[in-house]
Symmetry: C2
Subunit: 126 residues, 2 copies
DNA sequence: ATAACATCTGGCGTGCGCTCCAAGTCAAGC
DNA sequence: GCTTGACTTGGAGCGCACGCCAGATGTTAT
């Protein structure tokens, strides 16, 4: 699969794909004899994983370390689990504060609803 | 209240406070006759609001526009409400994808738990 | 064979959100 | 009065995660 196809499938830019590969978020992608990237289905899985984790705010470095451990084999299972568990904790915390913020926003918006109504009653009175 | 006191109270750097003021996330802070910032309780409220919204990912620009509308008075109530409502929607979406990511992470971690156990059974057998 | 287009590498540029620095002013204690 | 430390401004610098571009090479269609 060419890079252009992957771009469309995963909604990601070619620049980002090459960047992720350089940084080790993806394993080295197989090349055609002339040097053009040829993505496999597993590569797509890696790409989706990376996108998902990036969207959750995991830094490039953490993902890169994780991928390099995967490529070292089963002896790194425990370390990989610990990386994911640590990031899970951080994510859960973020989720919690975001929920609080959402609640605050809702309160403020409800407040604005009331104030908007009051203001309009005031100004549309004739 | 001096900037140093606010830094401690709100766990924020003096540089960031001055930056936020420049960018309009905070109203202009009152000064002593010699030009030193003197924060009020309302200023603290603004700071906490800014921190909360920034933590939720609202961009500096949106916050700045919002604050400038507040300072223009009640005729901007509806516009302010719309800014907050728009950001609320975006936040709710982010929250949703983050929850999905959390679920995926949990699945992966459970998987690693199993694989770790299996690996250890394999290697500690004597 | 040639035009038109896709992909490659290497490297520089960008936007965001701070963060640090220099050089000067101000405030508090001795 | 003098030192010491906090505060001021303006501006430069930085880390991250890309985005963009040139120039070379590869591929496809006519």
């Amino acid at each position: 699969m060419t890079i252009a196809e992957v771009c469309k499938l995963c909604a990601i830019s070619a620049d980002t794909l090459r960047y992720y590969e350089r940084e080790g978020l993806l394993p080295p992608i197989r090349r055609t004899p002339s040097g053009i990237r040829d993505y496999s289905e597993q590569d797509l899985d890696w790409i989706r994983f990376a996108q998902c984790m990036r969207a959750a705010g995991l830094p490039i470095g953490a993902l890169s370390r994780y991928v390099s451990l995967v490529r070292k084999g089963d002896s790194t299972l425990r370390e990989r689990k610990e990386i994911l568990a640590r990031e899970r904790t951080r994510l859960a915390e973020r989720l919690h504060t975001l929920q609080e913020t959402l609640a605050k926003l809702d309160g403020k918006i409800a407040d604005y609803d009331r104030r908007c109504l009051a203001w309009e009653r005031e100004h549309l009175r004739r």
